[in-house]
Every structure is written in structure tokens, then in C-alpha cells.
């Protein structure tokens, strides 16, 4: 149930790699850790990398919606990196793939930021 975050604050974006399962148990922990790191970030842009997330539930998706809202309010762009078909499917079913900007990899994410 361990949620692990790797956080890298770059000039043009903050890059957060999430490891583990995100569910009702730890979704708030995700929210708080992301907010803490973005509050002191250099850039308002955010890349959240979910490639090492094995499972995310609706609570986790809800938290991501909130993070997107906050990022937009600060004038930043949120990009999600999704590799797995399984997680992608959840975004499609919920229609969240139309709300989020989704990249297949980290390089694709930074390319999207430069546009």
C-alpha cells in the first residue's frame, strides 16, 4: 500500500513519478504530496508520470481532476504520462481522456509542453 513519489523540480516543469497503487487509502496522501511539491515549484507546469502505477481507483482519478484544476488556476499545464493499457482504459471509460492531456512517455510530455 506504499505510495512512493519521485519529485524533480526543473526550470520548465515539475516532474512527479508515482509508484504503487493509488486508492481510497492513500489518494489524499497523493494530493498532499503533490500540492506540497508544486507550491514551491519553479514552474507551474506539471508532468505526473503514472507509468509505475499498477492500480488507480476513482478516488485517485478524482484527486487528479483536482490537481488539474489547481494547475490551471496557477496558469500551468498538467500532462499525465500513461503507458499501461489498463490505466488508459479507465481514463477512456470515464471520459477523463478528454479532460486530461495525456502523453505516452516522458519525451512526448515535454514535447507537448513546448508547443
Amino acid at each position: 500500500m506504499d505510495l512512493k513519489l519521485e519529485i524533480k523540480k526543473e526550470k520548465d516543469y515539475t516532474h512527479i513519478i508515482v509508484h504503487g497503487e493509488v486508492d481510497l487509502y492513500n489518494a489524499n496522501e497523493l494530493k498532499e504530496k503533490v500540492h506540497m511539491s508544486t507550491d514551491r515549484a519553479i514552474s507551474p507546469n506539471l508532468i505526473i508520470d503514472l507509468k509505475d502505477v499498477d492500480y488507480i481507483d476513482s478516488t485517485g482519478l478524482g484527486i487528479l481532476i483536482g490537481i488539474k484544476r489547481r494547475t490551471t488556476e496557477k496558469g500551468g499545464v498538467l500532462i499525465l504520462v500513461l503507458y499501461s493499457d489498463r490505466i488508459n482504459k479507465l481514463f477512456e471509460i470515464t471520459g477523463l481522456n478528454k479532460i486530461f492531456t495525456i502523453a505516452r512517455g516522458f519525451d512526448a510530455a515535454t514535447a507537448l509542453l513546448q508547443k
Binding site: D23, L24, Y55, D57, S58, G62, I65, I93, T94
Partner: protein
């Protein structure tokens, strides 16, 4: 409740606490893997049951008492059936917009991923979700 002749009923009771969700997912995957389902179908069941437990936990968490979520799984005809029950307060007033949104997302996932879903709520008593998944080759 009709149990198939193959007697396959598994019951589990867990505290209504999010810490136990992961155990439930392990259990449900393990249980579902026993039937001829694809890896994707097992994954879908896991997601749906976990979402149903979320709802059950969030509903009953408002109570101060020690409450339990009860999950039953069995095979019936050509379907696996999952029943998730909580006691207490039925459908409480949601706390905030975000929480309501999540509920909506959870039910959306459940309805999309399962072949049959029925939700029964008795005010003041609790709610019960029954979900079924077809076993194609059964």
C-alpha cells in the same frame, strides 16, 4: 441466493477501513482467476469490486461504530456474482463536490466493467451492490 451445484461460495468480512481494500483486490483477483476469464476480465472485476467497496466504506464510515463490509462471491449459471454489503446509514449527504464526482466515477466504472449491476439502499440500514460477470466459456 442460489449457489451453483459446484459450491463456490466465498464470503469475506473486513473492517470498513480503506487499509483493507488492497487485500480485497488480491482476494477478488485470486477468486476470479479460478474461472475461464481473460486477464482483462479479471482486472475489470477487481476494479469493479474495489469501487463497490469504496462506496461501502465511504457510506458506513460516517458511523462511529465498528462496522464491517461483507463480500460474497459465487458462481451462478454462467456468471460469477459479487455481492458487497455495508450496514448503517445508507446514502449519506455527500461531503463535497469532489467526493460526489468520485462516487459518480466509481459507479460509472462498475456499470461499464460488469455485465449486470443492481444497487439496493435501505435508508438507515445499509446498501447492497450485486454485480455479475458473464463467463463466456462456462
Amino acid at each position: 441466493m442460489k449457489i451453483s451445484d459446484k459450491n463456490s461460495l466465498m464470503e469475506i468480512s473486513i473492517p470498513n477501513k480503506p487499509e483493507f481494500l488492497r487485500v480485497v483486490r488480491l482476494l477478488v483477483s485470486g477468486y476470479a482467476s479460478r474461472w475461464p476469464l481473460s486477464i482483462d476480465e479479471v482486472e475489470n472485476i477487481k476494479v469493479a469490486v474495489s469501487e463497490a467497496c469504496n462506496t461501502a466504506i465511504q457510506t458506513s464510515a460516517k458511523s462511529d461504530q465498528e462496522e464491517y463490509i461483507k463480500i460474497k462471491c459465487w458462481q451462478e449459471n454462467k456468471q460469477i456474482v459479487f455481492e458487497i454489503k455495508d450496514k448503517t446509514s445508507g446514502s449519506p449527504a455527500a461531503e463535497g463536490v469532489e467526493e460526489l464526482e468520485e462516487r459518480g466515477l466509481g459507479m460509472l466504472l462498475i456499470r461499464t466493467l460488469m455485465d449486470y449491476v443492481d444497487v439496493k439502499t435501505k435508508p438507515g440500514k445499509g446498501s447492497k451492490i450485486i454485480m455479475k460477470k458473464n463467463i463466456k466459456s462456462a
